[in-house]
Amino acid sequence: MNKAEADAIQQILAGNRDAYRVLMDRHFSAVHRIAFRITGNQADAEEAAQEAFLRAYNKLPGFRHDASFSTWITRIAMNTALNLVERRNRDLSQQGPRIAENPSPADQTIQMADTYPGPERQLLDREAATLRNDALAALTPMERTAFTLRHMEDLPIAEIAAALNVPANSAKQAVFRAVGKLRRSLAPLAGGL
């Protein structure tokens, strides 16, 4: 942890709440990115990232100053996002609108960047996005988290396992199962790939 972050934590513990902005500016985007990978939508990603930062703030008095704030907040964010996904899965009312047949901003689903704005391409991209989201939504929270963190964020298996509080082999098997499920889910899109 560098001096600026250590100073910020000292100021926070001295009663200066605004000093937390220093830590948020440095780490919120990365935390949000991981949360997005796990939750799959921006609204939940922001909610999980906010909750992670709030939890970290409240635990700051007990934070060991020789530890890395980045690693610490990332682990909190992974758990928070994973819990949010599980909570969403339990709450059936939250599931339907998330993966819409026709994604739109109101549905809180992802709008993919499009370099070819033709109508046909847009249609295909939307279909691909829907299939991807459906495929990811079919994974268990553990599989989705392990897969996205390993493949999209390029985190090592050991770190993922530590964050998920599972053995390394379990995390690795979760990644492998996720890839297998995704491949079969995308088979129609790829013409039987």
């Binding site: 926070i12 513990l13 001295a14 009663g15 709440r17 605004d18 937390y20 902005r21 948020m24 500016d25 919120f28 985007s29 949000h32 990115r33 997005f36 990978r37 921006q42 990603a45 922001e46 990232a49 906010q50 930062f53 709030l54 703030y57 409240n58 700051l60 008095p61 007990g62 992802i110 993919m112 960047a113 691909a128 991807r132 990811l136 897969f147 996205t148 390993r150 493949h151 999209m152 298996i157 690795k172 990644v175 492998f176 890839v179 297998g180 995704l182 491949r183 995308l186 790829a190 790939l193």
Partner: protein, 268 residues
């Protein structure tokens, strides 16, 4: 897995591990994929799946908006206070133990003090046994009867009347120590006479700060009071000697008297 070229295919899991660079048999699998179209197709499918999900973009969060939302939920923090030496739940048990230890200490202290008194009571007899024939000047400089520094040095305030009182007390105690039966009325009357003067000398010694002398005279006062009030019986004198340690008191009085004599000699 045990691999035999051209006869065994790799599993999907092995090929996923290969594509994710998590396989320990990467070279072997690569060699097999060059020779096995079926496994190569599966491996290509896995690679395409990974490519599809690699391109998923992540929207950028609005930092200011998130900060404003978060800040409203932040409380003012204070550092965790250093851990107390004793955990809070041990405070009351520790206080109880301390109180019990204090009571025990006081109780033992009182008994040790009493025992010290008893030991000191025996000292005169021990002194007599170890210094038979020796004069009072050669007696050890001990706190006799445990009441303070009764020394063999002369006191600064020698009083001829005091010497007479000590002489009378010595004779009375000698009589008591050598009487086997009950005391005669004359001895009892003498005790009564000495009682008043003894009280005066005890007060005088205290006023002069001679606590050792005052302590000896105080003991003498208790013996005289007992002699004056005890009913006469064949064993009353023996009981008195044992209970009041009249032998030890007699030695104390001799030392006091000797001190007074030396004081008078110094004056002359």
């Amino acid at each position: 897995m045990t691999y035999t070229p051209h006869t065994t295919h790799f599993s999907e899991e092995d090929l996923i591990a290969y594509q994710l660079h998590e396989s320990s048999d990467e070279a072997v699998i690569q060699h097999h994929l060059e020779l096995c179209p079926e496994c190569a197709a599966t491996s290509d499918s896995i690679a395409e799946t990974l490519r599809v999900f690699s391109s998923a973009p992540v929207p950028q969060p609005d930092l200011d908006r998130n900060w404003q939302r978060l800040r409203g939920n932040l409380s003012v923090l204070t550092p965790v206070p250093p851990r107390a030496f004793f955990p809070r739940f041990l405070l009351w048990p520790a206080a109880g133990l301390a109180a019990v230890a204090l009571l025990l200490f006081t109780f033992v202290g009182v008994h040790i003090s009493r025992d010290r008194d008893r030991i000191a009571d025996l000292l005169p007899a021990i002194e007599r046994m170890s210094h038979t024939g020796a004069g009072p000047n050669t007696a050890a400089n001990t706190a006799i009867n445990g009441h303070g520094p009764l020394t063999t040095e002369p006191t600064g305030a020698a009083d001829p009347a005091m010497a007479n009182h000590l002489d009378a007390a010595e004779r009375l105690l000698t009589e008591v120590n050598h009487t086997s039966g009950s005391l005669d009325p004359a001895t009892r009357a003498q005790a009564r006479d000495l009682l008043l003067s003894n009280a005066v000398y005890t007060r005088t010694a205290r006023d002069h700060g001679d606590l050792a002398q005052a302590a000896v005279l105080d003991d003498l006062g208790r013996v005289l009071t007992t002699l004056d009030n005890e009913t006469s019986s064949p064993h009353s004198t023996l009981q008195l000697r044992l209970e009041m340690n009249t032998s030890g008191l007699l030695l104390d009085i001799r030392i006091l008297r000797q001190n007074d004599d030396r004081q008078n000699d110094n004056r002359q």
